[in-house]
């Protein structure tokens, strides 16, 4: 392709079928503590 470049493998849909185990960190978004935006968390699987 000449007009676009894709930055990542788009596998979000696949993760829905295999994920959801709940073992990863909770993700509080508040401004007063650890404040984890989910997008920068790690999967524990």
């Amino acid at each position: 392709m000449k007009h676009i470049k894709t930055l990542n493998k788009a596998n979000l849909k696949k993760t829905a079928t295999t994920g959801g185990c709940g073992e990863c960190q909770a993700s509080c978004q508040s401004a007063c503590k650890t404040s984890c935006t989910v997008a920068n968390q790690k999967c524990e699987k």
Binding site: I4, A10, N11, C24, C32, K33, A39, N40
Partner: protein, 466 residues
């Protein structure tokens, strides 16, 4: 649904439901302008109709041949399901509900030795009188977590306050107690602490670096900024007391490996320092490379409050910070700014992303009295009390209410392009400032979306380097 924007010379297209991120040229971008409706979806289900519209739009401006070439690429992405891909996540909504309680915010001290002006805990006591947690109640909190975490193995416990170091002996007792139960219950505890640093000394630093998997160190940035809003009880600033202690802690922590080397120096910016990128850079100059500086959330009447009026200025500042960070990165001097960190390949699964913060469902807060609340921001709101560690009770009706507060339970979030990265925002803020857990707090949304745009742009810029 797609979200597209131009930033720092890049044309960026996020395909929301597949998670694909495309950098496109101007013609491609303009084609998307023509065929996308205001919700980010394709205007016509029939691609031929799209094509006609596109040809009409470019007639006399670009040759038909050239346009068809670009449009061919648009079609290819659509066919590969990485552009305008469908939202088929609602089928997983049942996986986003009730879950075991596996994370806890333990308020070991409802007291504080600073008097930060924006403190949501009313200078540490949450409006309920100064009080320290006793060891017995702390241990019951652990029992509570052991009981309600059911099959979950990884448990999280954040020592919080007020200022947790004001009750350091109890912290140690609780840690020891929890560790003594790990084998028997087949659990792994991860302890973290959020502290203002005033009471740190060599002994505590050594202990925290050994036992805490993450430490959040509060500091707002430049001395004059920090000291103006984070004074001690006697009115003097806290900067000179804490900075050397943080530097020592971080330096010693650096030799840890794996799970135990995490830390954040975190600050809050307010209306008084809208040039907060300077505070971020200042923290970096002090030697910290894990930095988080976040907008204050407060009622609008506070003199430091961030309101809609401040948004354009803040957006500009985020963009400036992003560009500064790219430049440093290119020189090999990069650092992490918490809100620009984004993993485009190996982030959490979609279920996790849509489940939300988990407050009142997989995460709870416990007060020095042993009362259980949905999270630290709800502490002190009597109506939201949802149990007690003293008799190991949980109000399951409340827990279910929070379980439903996932992205697909919130009308605004369901259709928001940022949902997989934001996860539906902060329920407590939504309740306090939008009047309902299931609504969204507009200012927070706007800031979150701007940060995401910057974070993705940084990725684009760094990808170009490779």
């Amino acid at each position: 649904m797609i979200h597209k924007y131009k930033l720092n010379g890049y044309n960026i297209v996020l395909d929301v439901h597949s998670g694909a991120i495309h950098i496109v040229d101007d013609t491609f971008y303009e084609i998307l302008d023509v065929i996308t409706d205001e919700k980010g979806n394709l205007k016509y289900t029939d691609l031929n109709e799209c094509e006609n519209e596109v040809l009409k739009h470019f007639e006399g401006k670009v040759s038909k041949e050239d346009i068809l070439e670009v449009f061919g690429e648009v079609k290819e992405l659509i066919e590969n399901d990485v552009l305008y891909s469908k939202d088929d996540y609602e089928q997983y909504a049942n996986m986003m509900v009730a879950s075991p309680i596996k994370a806890m915010c333990l308020h070991v001290a409802h007291d504080c030795n600073l008097r930060c002006k924006y403190c949501f805990a009313s200078t540490g006591d949450f409006g309920k009188g100064r009080k320290l947690l006793d060891a017995e109640t702390g241990k019951k909190a652990i029992d509570f977590l052991l009981k309600y975490s059911k099959g979950r193995r990884n448990l999280e416990l954040d020592f919080f306050g007020g200022e947790p170091l004001m009750n350091f002996d109890v912290v140690k007792e609780v840690v020891e107690y929890a560790r003594s139960k790990e084998k028997e219950y087949n659990k792994v505890f991860r302890f973290t602490m959020t502290t203002n640093g005033v009471l740190l000394d060599d002994e505590k630093i050594e202990y925290l670096n050994k036992e805490m998997s993450n430490i959040v160190l509060s500091l707002d940035g430049r001395k004059e900024i920090n000291d103006q809003i984070r004074p001690a009880v006697n009115g003097k600033g806290s900067y000179d007391i804490i900075v050397p202690k943080y530097q020592k802690l971080v330096k010693q922590r650096g030799v840890n490996e794996g799970d135990y080397d995490q830390y954040y120096v975190r600050g809050t910016f307010t209306k008084h320092n809208l040039d907060f990128s300077k505070d971020v850079m200042h923290l970096n100059e002090l030697g910290f490379d894990q930095i988080s500086v976040e907008p204050v959330v407060s009622p609008e009447y506070e003199d430091y409050a961030i309101t809609e009026k401040e948004l354009p200025r803040i957006f500009e500042e985020y963009e400036k910070l992003a560009v500064d960070m790219i430049n440093l990165k290119k020189q090999g001097k990069g650092f992490n700014f918490f809100h620009f960190m984004i993993d485009l390949e190996q982030g959490p699964c979609a279920i996790k992303r849509l489940r939300g913060c988990g407050c009142g469902n997989e995460y709870v807060a416990v007060t020095p009295d042993g009362d259980v609340y949905p999270c630290h921001q709800f502490v002190g709101m009597e109506d939201w009390k949802m149990g007690s560690v003293n008799d190991l009770s949980v109000d399951f009706e409340k827990k279910d209410y929070f379980a439903k507060s996932n992205v697909y339970g919130k009308e605004d979030c369901k259709n928001c392009w940022a949902k997989f990265y934001c996860s539906g925002g902060c329920n407590a803020n939504s309740l306090q400032y939008a009047g309902d857990v299931l609504k969204s707090h507009k200012i927070s949304c706007e800031l979150e979306k701007k940060r995401l745009e910057c974070a993705i742009m940084i990725k684009a810029a760094m990808a170009e380097e490779e």
